[in-house]
Symmetry: C2
Subunit: 324 residues, 2 copies
């Protein structure tokens, strides 16, 4: 037998959160960690590791949006929702981003998010079929980048370096994330869109979401939560679980992040945050639906969120199902 040098195995493996079932046979598993907070903020359920920092990716966007408002940018309604969005790149998203840029004397050339196709597969195919190319407006973070640029323009801060972690706006967002999560930022990386990416624990992330729905009406965090909940189609898109949940579960604040991160807060203070260890977005729906059911949510939307069929020869022959 071959001898392997000791590998860098981390702490214990997190539990299986979802199974990939084809023709009744479990052909794969998605592990991960999940924390559920009770209305009073105490930990009601913890699976896996919920205290080690993770990159929340776009689940940090409500906090980044709070940062741009704190910097003095007076956003509200659809515009504030879009500032906190991972939008699908549908026409109404791209149009409002272009309009926001114009309203602040900016152009698409100011954006430093990479040119991209829309996040939504249907929209992406439609774009390609119509002969459209990748562009910065279509990139799912373009609303956030526009808000960051607009806040910088308003304050007279440099526009060229708005993604630099040392930029005044990013330093402010760093403080907002720490205040929101109630813990220090453990690492600073670069997100897919080029923006600074701040690591916090899943428990800190759930705490942040909880604090946004419980904040005083009119406060910055509450304004962000209210705008997202009033305009969920601008936070995600027509065919996205964040939109469905915020439309159909009264008072829910829901935001997904790349690499299979999800956070949700309910208006009574219950909150959850989860991450699938392997980053598989396909497992999010079933895992999230099960987590919300454990949190006491009882709504037909959970069936829609949790549905993840697997096909064989064009017919449904299996599914990804929650396993906790």
């Amino acid at each position: 037998m071959l001898e392997l040098p000791g590998s860098a195995e981390p702490a214990a493996a997190p539990p299986v959160l979802a199974e990939v079932v084809r023709s009744g046979f479990v052909e794969g598993r998605h592990r991960g960690s999940l924390v559920l907070l009770a209305p009073d903020g105490t930990v009601e359920l913890a699976l896996g590791d919920v205290t080690t920092p993770v990159f929340p990716r776009s689940a940090n966007k409500p906090m980044q949006a709070a940062g741009v408002v704190r910097a003095g940018l007076d956003l509200s309604g659809e515009r504030l929702a879009l500032a906190a969005a991972s939008h699908s790149g549908e026409t109404f998203h791209r149009r409002l981003v272009a309009q926001m840029l114009a309203e602040h004397g900016l152009t698409p050339e100011h954006l430093k998010c990479p040119p991209d196709l829309p996040l939504d597969p249907q929209e992406r195919e439609a774009c390609l079929s119509s002969g459209a190319a990748r562009d910065r407006l279509a990139m799912n973070c373009s609303g956030k980048h526009t808000a960051m640029l607009a806040a910088s323009a308003r304050r007279g801060w440099p526009l060229d370096s708005y993604l630099d972690p040392g930029h005044p706006l990013q330093r402010l967002i760093h403080r907002v994330v720490e205040e929101s999560a109630g813990e220090p930022v453990a690492a600073v990386g670069t997100d897919g869109c080029g923006a600074p990416l701040l690591a916090i624990s899943l428990t800190g992330l759930a705490r942040a979401f909880r604090s946004y729905v419980l904040a005083d009406p009119g406060s910055v965090p509450r304004r962000v939560a209210d705008a997202m909940r009033a305009h969920p189609e601008y936070v995600a898109g027509t065919r996205r679980h964040d939109t469905w949940l915020m439309r159909e579960v009264p008072g829910a604040l829901s935001k997904t992040g790349a690499e299979a991160v999800q956070a949700v807060a309910l208006p009574d203070g219950r909150a959850l945050a989860l991450k699938v260890e392997d980053g598989a977005t396909r497992a999010l729906g079933p895992v999230l639906a099960r987590a919300l059911s454990l949190a006491g949510v009882d709504s037909p939307v959970l069936d829609r969120v949790g549905r993840a069929p697997l096909l064989g020869g064009g017919r449904e022959v299996g599914r990804i199902r929650a396993a906790f």
Copy 2:
């Protein structure tokens, strides 16, 4: 704390095979199982669970191709390679599939694989941009389906039911898989293309690949292995690791399968089979390159196979790296 009913946790978690590293921070992990056989066929390395059956998906294709030849279909060269292919849907693949259908008096309407876009992302975008729609020829398994139809036509077996596990051709393939793997098929499911999907262990899969490269010249398994190795661009495509490996590692037989399965045999009888537990194809390259390196392969192609960069703002800010 919430009490959860005992979940159906399987055996111990398999080890971490790859880490997702962004900005120096490990933001995700891919676990899995891997077996490496020595030239004499004994197990040299076993990580995770290599004896429980898995669905090898398209890694079973060399055995399915051997089945159609055993049924009496006289295929060779590019045609036999394409019968064992998960092709990229490039023009030369689609053209040869159409030609093979015509050669056997068949039409694309006989195919029961679902209409699809090409597997290769670049080819897929080019198809959409040119206004092409999903079709059965472009589906990555269309060569295999064509070979199954042609074998059935040659034997006078029904064409309509060629995907039925009880069809004479599928019963023959079932026997070929069991003989090749040296173990019984543990489950029969439906593959993404609609064909019967036969479960064997990773050890059985590695054994099968080993037996194909060691088989007597001119025998059916060896004819399949030789055709695949002589025409690797027909087995995969221009931008695919199976093609690169079979071109650059002398005598290697390499075939990937959906849900992150991979099998490789080397001409001296070394062989490996692996599966990433979560099915993430993105982890295959780094894991496979590391496994081949452990198997003693020393080639610059491993750098190319193992490269899995992660982007931030369009720049490389991390990568997926092997962790064993």
